[in-house]
Each structure stands twice: as structure tokens, then as C-alpha cells.
């Protein structure tokens, strides 16, 4: 395994490879730090650029974007109390008070170092557990795969957003949109309503870019008061003693493990992990009352867990071909666009790419800490670009991204259609992530179902009697049942509260 990793490094450490990682990290940091632009958006826009590259070069760029995008969020979180990405929400709790107490440099120092350390731990765990897990998954047939996909979809649908039917609905709509065009196995054209341009179905890129970038621009258009960001970065000292670092060791380790675990579970990524890690740090602290007033513990917890979620989220993607969140769904799209077959076979057939991904992550992590320390002032300047100028330019990039894959103007139309859909879904309170996962996993689901039925000659029983498949289907029902139960409990508590309130008034 070690020699594989070394050859992975060898394939990445070319001038081109390093430049791509550096470019990816910088662009990721910029997108991560500007509120309204996200890591997901950066990857969606850059996917088409990777077309002309070899898969390894393309992955190097995407990994740089991923690490940079998650890390960049800490800059506005600490300076402006605005999380640049959902991954840094909890960083604002203590990071901003620290900056107000005149300790912005210290807060940055802790945030950057714990981002690096959290990321490092999770990448090492990823390298250790993904390959063996992939080997186990090699024995899976269509029955097991069908069950795993159902499990992943239901878990993601039930966990994102607060309404179970809405989450499931979003997942189902995603599967539905993926059905437009020719059917798997027999290629029968479906839902084209006679339109020739629909025969090939919707391409992945317009769907992704539309849902995550265009919808964001529309949401931005409706805000009456635009955020005007002005920051003063003079007189900032980064000094932190080694003793203070060591004092955070256990906090760092616990938060990283939380991030890692949350990352591995499909459906909940960095956005959830930082808040959970913050809560855990507060609950186990000897001075919980100090949290929120600007102590480093909160910053360390949040930032180490969100970077640790990166390695975690890549575990199911690389070993099973199942993405856990939107960013990994986009990375899956990147693998597919390069003609690689995601899933357990990826490690067997394209082991070089997998180990290059591992190596690129480690290299990107180093560049991330380097650029954050050296280029902090530059990234802070980026924050003052007004959104009304930035957003239209970003849209230009989105159009190129959607058009580039197939060279059809139809795809630009599809881009705007999915942008509007994404906007309406946000407005009506539907989560977007399940839709993307449904769109990507839907065809796989159907293919495995029909392949399985061919194997069993039309018998549905093997889907239930194969032990691994059965376990995953039980998990599926358990996760939906749990969501129903917790929703019911919440409602009951709410009703009780309302009742008590009315009692008190009388």
C-alpha cells in the first residue's frame, strides 16, 4: 500500500500537477471566503475545465478546490461573523468574539492550524480504511448495490432539511429527472414528450451548476439590503505559544473524530459536524460558560471537525462509489466525466487515480495552511468585492461550464431551468442535496434493480434474502423510523410548551 501511495505522489508532483493543486487551493479559498460563493459552486464551475486534462490532473485540481473551499470559510467567520460556507457556522460563535477582543490573529492561528491537523488526521484515516472497505465491496452484486443505494438515498433525504416528506420528495424528483431520456438496459426513450433535444436526457453539469450556482444568484437578487463588507486587517499578530497548542490536543482529537464520523455517514457533512463538535467541546469543557465569549476551544472544535469531514466524506465515495454530500456528489460526477467507473472497481481498475487523489489531498492540505498564513491579507481584500458585480461574472462562468460539455445551447436553457427550480425549492423549503443524489444515483438504482431481476428471473425475494442487502434495507427503515419518531417527539414537546404558555397566561 505504501509503494502505491509513493507512486501516487510521483504522479502528482509534476510541475503541472502542483500548479493545478495550488490553483485549486487558491480558488477554493477565494470561493470559500466570499459569502454567497461556496466550495460546491467552485467545483461545479471547474468540472468542465478538467475535461481536457488527464483524470489524475483533473482530480488534483478538484481536491485542491475541496480542501481550499472548506477552509476558506473561516476568514469571514472570524472577521465578519458571516460563515463563508455552512462548514464554518460554529467558527463564528467564538472566532468573532475573539476578533472583537483584539485577538483576530490568534483566532486565525488556531483556526488555520486546527484545519490543517483535522484534515491531516482524516486523510490518513481515509487512506487506511478506504482500500480494505473497497475490497469487501467488490463482492457486492446487484441486490446488495440496490439496497445500499436505497439506504444512502433515504438517509440523505431524511437528514437534510427538517421535513421528512420534503426531503424524500426532493430525492424522488432527482430520480425522476434522471429518467428523462433513454432508459437503462433497453434504451427506450422516456419522458421526452416528442422533443428531440430531450432524447439524451439532462446532462449532469447543467443540473449541478443550475441547482447550486444559479439558484444562489437568484436568491441574492431578492435581498433588499446588500452586504457591504469592509475589514481592517492592520495590526494583527498571529502569536500563539506552543503550550496553548498542546492544551487543545484532546479537544482537537475529539472534534476531528466527530468530523470524521459525521463525514463518513452519507447525508451529513461539514455543515453539521462543526456544530456538533462545538456542542461536544462545550459540554465536556470545564468552563462551558466561557464558550461564546471568545475562547480558542470553540474555534479549534469547529475548524478541526469541518476539515476532518473531508476525509470522512471521501471514504464511501472511493470505496463504494456513493457520495455522502453535495461536494462528493460533484466529485463523483467528475470521475464519471472522465470515464472512470465509480464503485469498488475503481480501486482495482484505476488504483493509480485513487492513490493520486490521496496524495493530492495531502499536498493540498499543506498548501492550504501555507496560503492561509501567507496570503491572509489578499483573501481578506476579496471580501470587499461587491456582490452585484461578482454575481454576474460568476454566471458567465456557469454558462461556459454548462455549455462546454456537449456544446449544445439546450444545456444553457437546462442550466437556467434548474436554476429556477433550485430557487423555487429553496423558497418552498425543499432541500437540494437529495435531488442531486437522486439524479446521480437514480439510474444506478434502476440498472441494479433490473439486472438483479434478470439474474433472479423476475423474483423480488433475493433483494430481501441476501444478508447484506437485508441489513441495509433494515437500516433504511430504521433511519426513516427514527426521523418520524424524533419529529413526533419534537411536535409533542412543542404542543406541551404551547399548552404551558396558555396555562401561564390565565
Amino acid at each position: 500500500m505504501f509503494d502505491l501511495l509513493i507512486s501516487g505522489f510521483a504522479s502528482i508532483l509534476t510541475i503541472k500537477g502542483i500548479l493545478l493543486i495550488v490553483g485549486g487551493v487558491i480558488l477554493g479559498l477565494i470561493f470559500g471566503s466570499i459569502p454567497g460563493l461556496t466550495a460546491t459552486m467552485a467545483i461545479a464551475i471547474c468540472l468542465p475545465i478538467t475535461f481536457g486534462m488527464s483524470p489524475i490532473d483533473g482530480m488534483a485540481l478538484l481536491m485542491g478546490l475541496y480542501i481550499g473551499g472548506v477552509s476558506g470559510g473561516l476568514i469571514p467567520a472570524i472577521l465578519l461573523k458571516i460563515p463563508g460556507t455552512p462548514s464554518s457556522i460554529a467558527t463564528t460563535f467564538d472566532g468573532y468574539p475573539m476578533a472583537r477582543n483584539g485577538e483576530a490573529g490568534k483566532a486565525f492561528n488556531f483556526a488555520i492550524v486546527s484545519s490543517f491537523m483535522g484534515g491531516l488526521l482524516s486523510i490518513i484515516v481515509l487512506i487506511l480504511i478506504a482500500p480494505p472497505l473497497g475490497k469487501v465491496a467488490l463482492q457486492f452484486g446487484p441486490f446488495e448495490y440496490f439496497a445500499i443505494i436505497i439506504f444512502a438515498l433515504s438517509l440523505i433525504s431524511s437528514l437534510s432539511g427538517d421535513s421528512l416528506p420534503k426531503g424524500l420528495m426532493a430525492g424522488l424528483l432527482g430520480i425522476g429527472f434522471a429518467m428523462v431520456g433513454s432508459a437503462p438496459i433497453d434504451a427506450f426513450p422516456r419522458f421526452t414528450f416528442g422533443a428531440k433535444s430531450l432524447d439524451a436526457g439532462f446532462s449532469l453539469l447543467p443540473v449541478l451548476i443550475g441547482l447550486f450556482a444559479i439558484s444562489e444568484i437568484l436568491i441574492n437578487a431578492e435581498k433588499k439590503v446588500k452586504d457591504n463588507l469592509k475589514v481592517n486587517m492592520k495590526k494583527v499578530s498571529y502569536k500563539v505559544s506552543l503550550k496553548e497548542y498542546l492544551g487543545q490536543g484532546w479537544n482537537w482529537f475529539r472534534s476531528s473524530l466527530i468530523g470524521l464520523g459525521i463525514g463518513i455517514l452519507p447525508g451529513i457533512g461539514g455543515g453539521t459536524s462543526n456544530i456538533l463538535a462545538y456542542a461536544a467541546a462545550k459540554n465536556s469543557s470545564k468552563k462551558p460558560e466561557k464558550f461564546g465569549t471568545g475562547i480558542p476551544d470553540g474555534v479549534v472544535a469547529s475548524e478541526s471537525s469541518n476539515n476532518a469531514a473531508i476525509g470522512g466524506a471521501l471514504v464511501p465515495l472511493i470505496s463504494l462509489g456513493i457520495p455522502g454530500d453535495t461536494v462528493t456528489a460533484l466529485l463523483l460526477g467528475g470521475l464519471v466525466l472522465h470515464g472512470l467507473q465509480p464503485g469498488p472497481l475503481l480501486l482495482q481498475n484505476n488504483g493509480d487515480v485513487v492513490y493520486a487523489i490521496f496524495a493530492a489531498l495531502l499536498v493540498a492540505n499543506v498548501f492550504m495552511i501555507l496560503f492561509l498564513f501567507l496570503g491572509m491579507r489578499g483573501f481578506v481584500k476579496m471580501l470587499s468585492i461587491p456582490q452585484n458585480i461578482l454575481m454576474p461574472v460568476v454566471l458567465g462562468l456557469c454558462v461556459v461550464g454548462a455549455y462546454g460539455e456537449n456544446g449544445r445551447v439546450f444545456d444553457i436553457g437546462a442550466l437556467f431551468f434548474f436554476g429556477l427550480l433550485g430557487y423555487l425549492m429553496i423558497k418552498f423549503g425543499f432541500p437540494l442535496t437529495p435531488l442531486v443524489l437522486g439524479f446521480i444515483l437514480g439510474p444506478l438504482l434502476e440498472t441494479n434493480l433490473r439486472r438483479g431481476l434478470m439474474l433472479s428471473q423476475g423474483d423480488f425475494m433475493p433483494f430481501l434474502t441476501s444478508p447484506i442487502a437485508a441489513v441495509f434495507l433494515i437500516f433504511t427503515f430504521a433511519s426513516i423510523g427514527f426521523k418520524l419518531y424524533s419529529g413526533w417527539k419534537k411536535k409533542r414537546n412543542k404542543n406541551n410548551e404551547l399548552f404551558n404558555l396558555l396555562e401561564g397566561e390565565q
Partner: protein, 164 residues
């Protein structure tokens, strides 16, 4: 409260979608001998969408009722933060602009359409006193020209060049 009624509206809309989806599957033909043809999954999905739509409608109606009870019991008017206030005019204008953009692109080409689009979009997104004509025009032209040439010559993505 408006947000809760929205659940009912979206539920009804999605219910209609599922009915259209299901009726479209009836014309799918089976091309293989296997029991499950191309129509099976779409029918299952359409059925599940209908089921979820019903759940959303029921949940929505319940919430609307609960809201009414709450509103009747308390008459505190919550003040809105100006940051959360929204106007739909720019959104609608933006979407019309996008539609025109797609329609015009094949004839005029990427470069000019995108430059004009960016300029108008910046005007839509800015309030009247913030409209800096010259800056917007320069940024639009420079940005779209940069995107065009970088993608054409560095990444070899062919963009519609139009009549020019």
C-alpha cells in the same frame, strides 16, 4: 401565515406532476422479455411522489391550522429585520434576462451576448444610487472577453461565436 400555505400549494402542484408522470408511462413499451420493463421504475417513482405530495399537503394543512390557533392566542407583531426583507422584482427581471440570453446566444454569439447580459444583470442587482455605469461596462466587457479567450485557447472549450 404565508409560508405554511406554500406547503399546501407545492404539494398540490407535485401531485399534478405525479399524475402527468404516471400517465406518460402508460405509452412505454416493453422491449425485453423480462417482467420489469422501462415503465416499472417511473411508475413506482410517480406513485411515491404522489404519496409524498399527499403527506406534504396534510402536514401543510395541519401547520396552517396550528398557526391560526397560535395567532389567535397571541397578538404580538414580530418586527422584520431589514436584512431579511425580500423583493421579487429583481428575481423576475433576472429570470426574464436569462431567458432572453439563451434565445439570443445562438445568433449573436457568446462574447457579445454575455457582455451585454453581465452589464444589465449588474444594473438589476444594484440599487439606483449604486449604479456606476462606466465601472459596470468595463467589468462586463473585460470579464466576458477574458472568459471567452481563456476557455477557447487554454481549455479548448468551443463557445458559440455567432455571426461575427
Amino acid at each position: 401565515m404565508i409560508p405554511k400555505i406554500r406547503d399546501v400549494q407545492s404539494g398540490i402542484f407535485l401531485l399534478i406532476v405525479s399524475v402527468i408522470m404516471f400517465s406518460a408511462t402508460l405509452s412505454f413499451k416493453k422491449l425485453t422479455t423480462s417482467l420489469v420493463g422501462p415503465a416499472f421504475m417511473p411508475q413506482v417513482i410517480a406513485g411515491l411522489i404522489a404519496l409524498m405530495a399527499l403527506a406534504i399537503i396534510i402536514q401543510g394543512i395541519r401547520n396552517v391550522k396550528a398557526e391560526r390557533v397560535k395567532e389567535a392566542s397571541s397578538d404580538v407583531v414580530t418586527k422584520k429585520d431589514p436584512k431579511d426583507e425580500v423583493t421579487y422584482r429583481p428575481v423576475i427581471l433576472t429570470f426574464i434576462l436569462m431567458a432572453v440570453y439563451v434565445a439570443v446566444m445562438p445568433f449573436v454569439g457568446f462574447l457579445i451576448t454575455t457582455a451585454v447580459y453581465m452589464f444589465i444583470q449588474m444594473m438589476i442587482l444594484s440599487d439606483k444610487p449604486e449604479r456606476r455605469w462606466l465601472l459596470f461596462a468595463v467589468v462586463s466587457v473585460v470579464a466576458s472577453a477574458t472568459i471567452y479567450y481563456v476557455f477557447r485557447n487554454v481549455f479548448y472549450v468551443m463557445l458559440p461565436s455567432g455571426l461575427l
